[in-house]
Symmetry: C2
Subunit: 404 residues, 2 copies
C-alpha cells in the first residue's frame, strides 16, 4: 500500500467537468489500494479575478488582507472536489492550510512553511478517508492566514509528501511532463521520462516553467520523488528524483530559454577595487536577483559592467544604477529588455568537456551572436538577441540530438 500526494493545479480544476475528472482519477487511485492526499489550487483564473477586484476597490492593499482574499480560492475548489468524490462514494474531507496544520512565518504573500502539524490529515488517512488540502496557504503562529507566493501549491504538496513520508508527490498540470525543449518551439522535443533534481533545478531557474524552483529545492532537500504529469491525458509523465547510475548517459538533457530577462550596463566605471561591490550591494538592498555579470577589460582606466536581471526588476535596477553613477564616477547607464537567455542543462556535462565548444560552434553556424555567458557544472547559458532565441533553441536541440 502506497501513500501518494496528488497536487492539481488551477487548470486541472478549472470548471465542473475538470473537477469531476479529477475526482474520478482520485477515486481510481484510491480503489487501486493507495492512500491519497490531494492538494488543490484555486480554480482556473480565480486568483486573477480576485486580484482585479482588489485593484478596483483600493490602491492600498495590506498584505495580510491580500492573503485573506486570495486564500478564498482554494476553499472553493477543495470543497467542490470533496462533493464530487462523495458522489463517487469516496469519503473525502477538505482542510484549509490552517486546519491541515501548515504553520508558516508571518511574511504575508510569500510566507515560508516552518512546521506541519499533520495530525488531522493522519487521522483522516487512518480512517480510510482522502484529505483534500488547500494549496498555497497556511497560518502564522499569530493565527493569521498566510500565502506561500508563486508556485505555492507545489510547495504545499511537496512539504506534505515529506512530512507524511509519501512514496511520491504527483504534480498534475496541463502539460504531460518535462520536455527536452519547449514543444511549441521545437515540435520534435522529447518528453523526458526521468531527470535528476539538479537538472530540474537548473531548468526551473532558466525558463522551464513546469515546476517552480522553490518546490524542486524543497523536494530535493527532503528526498521527495516528484512525478510531473497531465490531468488531461493522465499518461505517465516525468519523474524527478535523485541522480543515479542510470542517468549518467545523457550529456545534455534539455534546452531552456527565457525571454523575460533584461540587461543593464553601467558605462565608464573607474577601474578601482570596491566599486563593483558597491553597485551590487545597492541592487541587493532592493532585492534584485542579478544573474549573469560581465565586466569588460579595462582599456583607458574605465570599465563597462553589464548584468542581467528578471524583466520585472529592470526599472528598479536602472534606477539604482542611475543613482550610483555620480557616486561611482561612472559616465552612464543603458538598459536592454530585448535579450533572451538560452541554456543547455545536463548532468553529464560534468564529465564531458566538449559541450561548450559545440554550443559555440552551433550558434556561430546559425549566425547568432553570444552577448554574455554563464555556466554551472551542469549548465551553460548564453545571452542572445530576443529575436534569435527560438532559432538558437532549435539549433542546439538538433546539434545535441535531444529528440533521441
Amino acid at each position: 500500500m502506497s501513500l501518494l500526494v496528488q497536487k492539481y493545479g488551477g487548470s486541472s480544476v478549472a470548471d465542473a467537468d475538470r473537477i469531476r475528472a479529477v475526482a474520478d482519477h482520485v477515486a481510481r487511485t484510491r480503489r487501486a489500494g493507495n492512500d491519497v492526499v490531494v492538494v488543490v489550487s484555486a480554480m482556473g483564473k480565480t486568483t486573477d479575478r480576485l486580484v482585479r477586484l482588489a485593484d478596483d476597490v483600493s490602491s492600498v492593499q495590506p498584505n495580510r488582507e491580500v492573503d485573506m482574499l486570495l486564500s478564498s480560492g482554494e476553499r472553493i475548489s477543495m470543497s467542490l472536489l470533496c462533493m464530487a468524490l462523495a458522489e463517487l462514494g469516496v469519503e473525502a474531507t477538505s482542510y484549509t492550510g490552517s486546519q491541515a496544520g501548515i504553520i508558516t512565518d508571518a511574511v504575508h504573500t510569500r510566507a515560508k512553511i516552518v512546521e506541519i502539524r499533520a495530525d488531522r490529515l493522519r487521522a483522516t488517512l487512518d480512517g480510510g478517508g482522502v484529505p483534500v488540502v488547500a494549496g498555497f496557504q497556511g497560518m502564522s503562529l499569530e493565527r493569521d492566514v498566510t500565502t506561500l507566493g508563486r508556485g505555492g501549491s507545489d510547495t504545499t504538496a511537496v512539504a506534505l509528501a515529506a512530512v507524511l513520508n509519501a512514496d511520491v508527490c504527483e504534480i498534475y498540470t496541463d502539460v504531460s511532463g518535462v520536455f527536452s525543449a519547449d514543444p511549441r518551439i521545437v515540435p520534435e522535443a522529447r518528453k523526458l521520462s526521468r531527470i535528476s533534481f539538479e537538472e530540474m533545478l537548473e531548468m526551473a531557474a532558466t525558463g522551464g516553467r513546469v515546476l517552480m524552483l522553490r518546490s524542486v529545492e524543497f523536494a530535493r532537500n527532503h528526498g521527495v520523488a516528484l512525478h510531473v504529469r497531465s490531468s488531461f491525458t493522465w499518461e505517465p509523465g516525468t519523474w524527478v528524483d535523485e541522480e543515479d547510475a542510470t542517468m549518467e548517459d545523457a550529456i545534455v538533457t534539455a534546452v531552456t530559454h527565457d525571454v523575460t530577462e533584461a540587461k543593464v550596463t553601467v558605462i565608464g566605471v573607474p577601474d578601482r577595487p570596491g566599486l563593483a561591490a558597491q553597485l551590487f550591494r545597492g541592487l541587493a538592498d532592493r532585492h534584485v536577483n542579478v544573474d549573469m555579470i560581465v565586466q569588460n577589460t579595462s582599456l583607458h582606466g574605465t570599465t563597462d559592467i553589464s548584468f542581467t536581471v528578471p524583466g520585472y526588476d529592470l526599472a528598479v535596477s536602472t534606477e539604482v544604477c542611475e543613482q550610483l553613477v555620480p557616486v561611482l564616477g561612472a559616465s552612464g547607464v543603458t538598459s536592454d529588455a530585448d535579450v533572451a537567455r538560452v541554456s543547455l542543462v545536463g548532468a553529464g556535462m560534468k564529465t564531458h568537456p566538449g559541450v561548450t565548444a559545440l554550443t559555440f560552434e552551433t550558434l556561430a553556424s546559425a549566425g547568432i551572436n553570444i552577448e554574455m555567458i554563464s555556466t554551472s557544472s551542469i549548465r551553460i547559458s548564453c545571452m542572445v538577441r530576443a529575436s534569435a532565441a527560438e532559432e538558437a533553441v532549435r539549433a542546439l536541440h538538433a546539434a545535441f540530438d535531444l529528440a533521441g
Copy 2:
C-alpha cells in the same frame, strides 16, 4: 465614546463602488469618535453563484463541504473592505468566524453559536483598529468551519454586539427601515421610527422580510438595540428595542403578508382522541413547521383537519399525510399552494379588543373570504386566497390608518 456593531448585507457590498461607500461610512463613524466592529456578508449574489457551481459538480453535497464552500464568500468581501478602509487611513483587520472566536455547535449549514471568544476583537478595538468580521460563519469545537443558515450574518452581528456590550447593532440593508406594510404594495406605507422586539418578532414570523426571526430573538434575549437602516441613503431607519411607555399608542403597527405558505387538508379523519396528535407528530418528525391548524366540527363521526406550512415543506407534508391516511383511517389528502397569510401586528392589541372585529369587517367589505385564522396577543393572521392578498393588505392598511 460609543461602541457600534455595523452589519452590511450582500447588496451593501455588492461591487467595488458599494464597498468603497461602506468604507467611507465606517471611516466617518470612526472619526466621529466611535469604536466600530463591522460584520459583512458575501458580496451580492456570490452565495447563489457558489450554490449553482456545487450543483454543477455533484448531486451529493456533504454539509461540512457546503459550509467550507459558502464560507469563502465573506473572506472576499471582508478583505476588500479592509483594503478600502486602509486607503482611507483607517486601520482595519479582517477576521474569519474562527479567528473572531465564534464557536458553534457542529450542525453544519444551520449551526448555533454556543460561545464567543472575542479576545482578538477586543485587542483590535483597544489598539484603535476596526475589526471586520465574516458574518454567517463560525467554527465548531471540532475545528470545522460551520455556517449559521439564513440570516446568519444578522445573528453574528447581534451576538457580537451582545458579547462586546455594544451600544447598538446597526443592520444596513437595501431598504431604509421597517415599514407599516410592503411599500411595493402599499405606496403610502410609513417607515416606522421605532418598534418593539415583540412586534418585530411577529412581523418577521409573518412575512416582514427585513430581519430574520432568529436574530431578533437573539437581540431581544440579550437586550441588544437594533437599528435597521439603508446603506444606499444612509438616512436614519427603524429602531427595534424594548417596549416602553412611548410605544403604547399604536394599536396596530403594521400589516404583513406571506404568499409562500401552503395549506394541507386531511379529509375524513375518524373523530377519536389521539389521531391528530399522531398526524402532527409525523410532521414534526420530518421537521415541518406547522403554523395554523383548523379542525372542522365533526358531523358524521369524521372530521377534516387543515393546517398551513411553509411552501417549501408542502411536498414532504403531503407525503407524510398520505402515508398516514391508512393508519388514521382517513379518506384522503388535499393540498393548496394558492393561499396567502395576511397579518396585523401591534403591541396595543393587548388592550384594545376591537381589532378582530374591524379586521373581519374590512375584509368582508372588500369581498375577501377568510379561510383560516390564528392569533397571538399582538397579532391576528388570516389565510386568504393568494390572489386576494395584496388587496387585503391595502384594505387593512387603510382601515387601521397606518399611513399615519
